[in-house]
Symmetry: C2
Subunit: 332 residues, 2 copies
Amino acid sequence: MRRSIVNDPEDLVPEALEGLMLSHPLMLDLHEEHRFITRRRPATDKVGLVSGGGSGHEPLHAGFVGTGMLDVAVAGAVFASPTALQVLEATKAADAGRGVVQIVKNYTGDVLNFRIAGEISGDDAVETEMVLVDDDLATDTGVADGPGRRGTAATVIVEKLCGAAAEAGASLQEVAAIGRRAAGRARTMSLALSAGTHPGDSEPQFTLEDDEVELGVGIHGERGRDRVPFRDADGLTELLLEPLRAELALHRGDEVLAIVNGLGGTYPLELNVVARSLHHHLADAGVSIARSLVGSFVTSLDMHGISITLMPLDDEQARLWDAPVRTPALTW
Amino acid sequence: MRRSIVNDPEDLVPEALEGLMLSHPLMLDLHEEHRFITRRRPATDKVGLVSGGGSGHEPLHAGFVGTGMLDVAVAGAVFASPTALQVLEATKAADAGRGVVQIVKNYTGDVLNFRIAGEISGDDAVETEMVLVDDDLATDTGVADGPGRRGTAATVIVEKLCGAAAEAGASLQEVAAIGRRAAGRARTMSLALSAGTHPGDSEPQFTLEDDEVELGVGIHGERGRDRVPFRDADGLTELLLEPLRAELALHRGDEVLAIVNGLGGTYPLELNVVARSLHHHLADAGVSIARSLVGSFVTSLDMHGISITLMPLDDEQARLWDAPVRTPALTW
């Protein structure tokens, strides 16, 4: 069983947000009532960027608030959407007069609450555009009127590129278009060796046999699309890479942005071994990793697993990716 | 049981180092034979800084190689010192003609191998100074000829302050003095709710009952000095803080640098709750956290636990702490 370092689990999210803010006193501010984090010095004369969703995926989203990335991140309870009222207040807080792009992972509750907030904020003369992130290839059923693919680690790419564009003075429509283009090109595959455990619970969300791997797992502990035999790091990397390579139709000479993401309980030695394997696998196919992130950026509590996100990278995207960023979880 | 995302466990460290290097191609280079990471562009005309030790504590040490921090980090096997030959080659690689400060955590094997390397490197006209980090208050037995306190998370402070001083042109003796002063003032206390599991093993290094906490645990899974009853985050924070406050004789009006460090399996929600609690506890005592780091910087594989490091901060140290740094794991 896992025990959690928490006080009353009901207070976990507000206490953690307060802790994050206190640890970055020059960078972040906290709106206690509606549980959103803003930049300490709000930006002026730029398109605002708001994101958010359920907690338990840290450092996403509040860890990406700061110059060059988000203006506001709003937090629901663990694995639960923030309310429409929270999102409304967060969206209004993100507005500096040039409109707000909402970056939303594709989950029913999040999409609904951000949409309602976007509509209502129009009454306050805040113009909004929503960018939906739906990168999780495991949930690509091809059904036109289904819920669609889930949003996972590509959110970091979308937040970074939109953040750079907004900082550089792009218009509301331009920032949204950059986000949609990134979301349209980035795909992710995930696997887990063990599930996360909710704060306050003692048992993980699901259990696997010793020789099983959950392939296509979601960041809320959603079950995968397959259970496959356990294998070594090179083999696990290939399991994730193969469907991505096919879906993205990667060819010799292509350059990609890659995220090797830990799901919470994966340690850096493991992530770096997977990063190495990914580099070699792609190099063998003539594809080069032009930019990458390796770390735990979009997590699922303490789930032991990894995800790989790939996006073919063009020059404009590389320029936006390279632009300065200064947030708790991403700085260059 | 925990399964690991590895290939052959024998290859884990070199593969992980290669993965780290491939993920930071503009920043890092890898010396394969002697398993050390250097800056891609070696610095010139400054004191060199080398650190290292057993693996399994990532991002320590290789994650702190870069401008404003280390020049070279050398890696042993998991929880095992690098050899004297490795350290010798790493020390020589760190030299740019003005001598090398070796930053060494206080463990018998590390101290021995760095000392031998320091002596032999003198034959190659490389002048060295060793800074010993021994911050772990749980191992402060007061015995004069014992092994002394272990070195843990204060290593990050020593590496950062020495790195800034070296970058600013300080002499070998000045950099070493800054490191020794920081090591002399920083203290750490750790606790674990569960132990880490060696890559390739299936069972953790030790097990606890559901109502037990290992207080004073080491970063190699060394047993603590007490087993105490489990309690909430505020209570756990107080357990760590009380002996630190007494040892450091903190008084109303003091300013400290604080590190809230996850030991590997602790997720950000938990770390941020502890950071909040630490801020409030210290504020109640009139002590303010002038600078802080919250994250998993000095780990013990996937151990679920936390450490708190405190160091009374003076103006010179604050200035060195604030100086720019650009490494995989720390950038500002």
